[in-house]
């Protein structure tokens, strides 16, 4: 029943774009039809997800399927339910958002196409988390990935969009090939295409192969540094609700894959956990460091996805370390932290993208340094962005803090339990996560300060108007979810415990609430909000507006400052970019003084995508050159071609005779 409901959601969302195309490929009517079908489908999906999260059991549906690769088998448990829930929640939020952000009358050329692929993305992801058969998994995986490619290249008349779309396409295909190989190895190990696997030997060479291939393949999708190369460009250049869906949910499919992968094995070697933990740490720190250097609002948010994926993978690594060393508390804290952070990141990242999209819609630019003072023009968008920013920095009282706390406590516990060097490594994750938090604060202070505060730095913001309700409502919904998880984390604990048990397949109660003082945190968070409100009221009593004088900002003695003299995003980030200079490789163009009297000059700094620009592109260019060079073997001469036949014949006769 439950599973049928979820499948109905898959079908409804999958066909919604096509139905909308039939109703009106380029018209508003199509928009509404699409939105209605998506809402309906997502409602089904959310009900199914909720029911699977609140029940212990696993429901399985198996139907014969006439292809090589066995039966059509889907499964729904709490773990899958958690992912289903965020797929449909953010999916439907993006649909409503698109009503205002990408309306048919503004984008008649692309809207129909985009609806189709948006629906397919949601549908593919939903089927993916339910797939219990590797062929079905790959089907939905690739439907999701290719639909995302088309959604990213919606504006394909722009060269930058085509370029980043192609980078994404190549990356996702590379990942898919790795996953295909992983499933083939898995099949060699288990003898079937079913994914209902437990107790696989992790120390065998096949097991190791599965892990490495899966790590690379799923890591590519998740955007784990250094496999994240496709992510910034794709997120930046996609329509914003697509970016939100990709950043919020799609990359989590890589995480989902890694989590499922972990559940196949019985005894996990310590190095698996260490590798994940290490990659997660690198990803978290460098992700946020790269984010600080960005000037493009959406690109910056994209790098924060790398960071948050890093935190999630740290949690997952911790859980694997727990499995390897037999510490149930590490498993519980690590996996629950990873899962909850997956949710949280989906919520606040979608919220941030939505509000960024609202800014872009109002100002027509993504360039941070061209903006400023939008808080007065876009009050609701600003509040939404601020809530998202507080949440993504992991600050109390919002949800980001809760999930990071899980990971913190997990790492600290690993340090306090007698784990030897493993414990030390895990403990060193604490300062890593702390610096990630501080860097995120710096980054979001930069973004929020430059975009929403102060004065506008260019003419872009002058005509800015607040977005319509269809864009604000999804933001409100997501912000409310962020606040709810922050204020009432105990509500999600049972879900997390069930999902963790699905993963570990051990029925014993893990008792997350005994490991964490979530009740205390919960009321402290509420108290914090109340206290702030109370003090603010007191302050307004102590300093009523009647006694408030409005004056210009203190100019420190420099007369008539202009808005262009405000601190910019680049200047704000300069110190931190310099600190990480060896990794970020910033390209700085400083003006040179050529004459005694300085003329107008410009200073520019730019942080490239280091892995892509400095490593991968040169390799591909080199391969291209080699391929061009190798063309000499086919110069067009028929004589030579006949010689090839003769030579092949002679060589083969010589070798195999």
């Amino acid at each position: 029943m439950n599973i049928l409901l979820a499948l109905a959601a898959v079908v409804l969302t999958g066909v919604s774009g096509f139905v909308a195309a039939a109703a009106g490929f380029r018209t508003r009517r199509g928009d509404w039809v699409f939105a209605c079908m998506m809402v309906l489908g997502s409602a089904c999906g959310l009900v199914a997800a909720f029911r699977s999260m609140t029940s212990i059991g696993t429901s399985v549906l198996s139907q014969p399927w006439s292809i090589p690769g066995g039966p059509f088998q889907v499964r729904l448990d709490a773990l899958a339910g958690m992912f289903l829930a965020q797929i449909f929640l953010i999916g439907v939020a993006g649909t409503v958002y698109a009503l205002g952000y990408w309306p048919a009358h503004k984008h008649p050329q692309t809207v129909g196409k985009l609806r189709i692929f948006y629906g397919l993305m949601v549908s593919g992801m939903a089927l993916l988390v339910m797939a219990e058969n590797s062929v079905l998994f790959l089907f939905s995986w690739e439907i999701m990935a290719i639909a995302a490619f088309f959604a990213v290249t919606t504006d394909d008349h722009l060269p930058a969009v085509r370029e980043s779309g192609f980078v994404y396409l190549v990356a996702t295909r590379t990942g898919t090939l790795l996953i295909i190989a992983m499933f083939a190895v898995l099949r060699a190990a288990t003898g079937s295409f079913s994914l209902a696997i437990t107790g696989l030997s992790a120390t065998s060479s096949l097991g190791t192969g599965v892990f490495i291939l899966g790590l690379l393949g799923f890591g590519m999708k998740a955007g784990l540094m250094p496999l994240h190369v496709w992510l910034p460009g794709a997120h930046a250049n996609a329509p914003t609700h697509v970016s939100a869906l990709m950043s919020g949910v799609l990359i989590k499919m890589g995480i989902y894959g890694l989590i499922r992968l972990g559940s196949f094995f019985d005894k996990i070697p310590i190095w698996w956990g260490l590798v994940l933990f290490g990659l997660g740490s690198v990803s978290a720190v460098l992700g946020v460091a790269f984010a600080i250097g960005q000037h493009d609002l959406k690109r910056l948010l994209a790098y924060h996805s790398v960071e948050n994926i890093g935190i999630i993978v740290m949690g997952l690594g911790l859980a694997l370390l727990g499995r390897a060393t037999g510490h149930a508390s590490l498993i519980a804290l690590g996996l629950a932290g990873a899962l909850l952070h997956t949710w949280n990141h989906g919520l606040f990242k979608a919220l941030l993208f939505f509000s960024a999209g609202s800014v872009i819609r109002a100002t027509q630019t993504r360039e941070i340094d061209a903006l400023g003072g939008l808080l007065r023009k876009l009050p609701w968008t600003s509040i939404a962005f601020l809530i998202g920013a507080v949440a993504i920095c992991g600050l109390p009282p919002l949800n980001g803090f809760i999930s990071e706390l899980f990971v913190y406590i997990g790492m600290l516990r690993a340090g306090s339990q007698d784990l030897g060097p493993v414990g030390v490594v895990a403990t060193l994750g604490v300062p890593v996560l702390a610096s990630v938090g501080a860097l995120a604060v710096a980054c979001f202070v930069k973004v929020f300060g430059v975009v929403f505060l102060g004065e506008s730095r260019s003419t872009h913001g002058h005509m800015a108007k607040e977005s319509p309700w269809s864009m604000l409502a999804p933001m409100a919904l997501l912000a409310a979810c962020c606040a709810a998880i922050g204020a009432m984390p105990l509500l999600v604990v049972p879900i997390l415990e069930r999902a963790t048990m699905n993963w570990k397949a051990e029925p014993q109660q893990l008792g997350l609430h005994t490991l964490l003082p979530l009740a205390t945190i919960s009321w402290l968070n509420v108290t914090l909000i109340l206290a702030v409100v109370l003090v603010a009221i007191l302050l307004s009593i102590a300093a009523p507006s009647a006694r408030t004088a409005r004056v210009p900002t203190w100019d420190c003695g420099y007369s008539s400052p202009s808005p262009r003299m405000q601190y910019t995003a680049s200047s704000f980030a300069e110190g931190l970019v310099g600190m990480f200079g060896s990794a970020l490789r910033p390209r700085i163009h400083t003006p040179t003084l050529t004459q005694p009297l300085p003329t107008s000059s410009r200073f520019e700094s730019h942080v490239p995508e280091v892995v892509l620009d400095l490593f991968i592109m040169p390799v591909f260019r080199w391969l291209g050159r080699v391929a061009t060079w190798a063309r000499f073997i086919q110069p067009g001469s028929p004589h030579l071609y006949v010689t090839y036949i003769l030579a092949t014949l002679v060589v083969m006769l010589f070798i195999w005779h």
Binding site: S637, P638, H639, L640
Partner: protein, 213 residues
């Protein structure tokens, strides 16, 4: 039987060398024509008995390989009015040397293969292989399209010789089909050669290298 067939096969081999060494188009075509006539005789003898089929095949072979196709080629050459020289990519002497080397290798290769206990000449396999090889040399080292066609013809001759060892396996109909295919093939090639001359004002196939990469 072998007593008569073997000398004929030797003649075939010698004709291979003749075509390799010939410097004029006409000689090459004549060489292939002569080879066709000899093959007709071999075909007749190889069948063992002079039945209707054997005679028919021999006659058709002679008509096609010895007369028809060479005549077509001669006409094509006259039509396009090309110069008479062969214009090899590698010189005639090197061609001969390579041909000799190839024949030697073919004999060695044939020796490496066990021969069937058949009342048929032991020279069939080496002659066949060496003729195929000669065809290859002509195909790969002669500029003119027509000489390449001759090369193909000689290559086919080599295959034909091999086929003669298996007369019972190749029924009459199939044999005829093979020959018909050869005829049509050469005919189509002739047409193309004609077009090449018209389009490129030359039969030099090294110029046919617009399409590459």
């Amino acid at each position: 039987m072998a007593a008569i067939v073997d000398p004929l096969l030797i003649v075939v081999l010698l004709l291979n060398f003749f075509t390799l060494g010939a410097s004029r188009m006409r000689s090459i075509i004549n060489g292939s024509a002569a080879q066709g006539v000899v093959l007709g005789a071999v075909a007749l003898l190889a069948h063992g008995e002079f039945g209707l089929q054997a005679v028919l095949i021999a006659v058709v072979t002679v008509i096609l390989k010895g007369i028809g196709i060479p005549w077509m080629l001669m006409r094509a050459m006259r039509d396009v009015g090309i110069r008479r020289e062969v214009e090899p990519l590698i010189g005639l002497i090197p061609s001969l040397l390579v041909g000799a080397l190839g024949t030697g290798l073919a004999i060695l290769f044939a020796h490496a293969l066990p021969l069937a206990k058949q009342p048929i000449g032991s020279l069939f396999v080496p002659t066949s292989l060496s003729t195929v090889f000669t065809g290859f040399i002509l195909l790969t080292s002669r500029r003119k399209a027509i000489s390449q066609v001759v090369g193909y013809l000689i290559l086919e001759n080599g295959v034909f010789i091999m086929g003669l060892t298996l007369v019972s396996a190749m029924p009459f109909l199939v044999e005829m089909g093979v020959l018909l295919d050869l005829l049509v093939g050469i005919f189509v090639m002739g047409i193309i050669v004609n077009h090449i001359q018209r389009e490129f004002s030359s039969l030099d196939t090294t110029r046919l290298s617009q399409l590459k990469g």
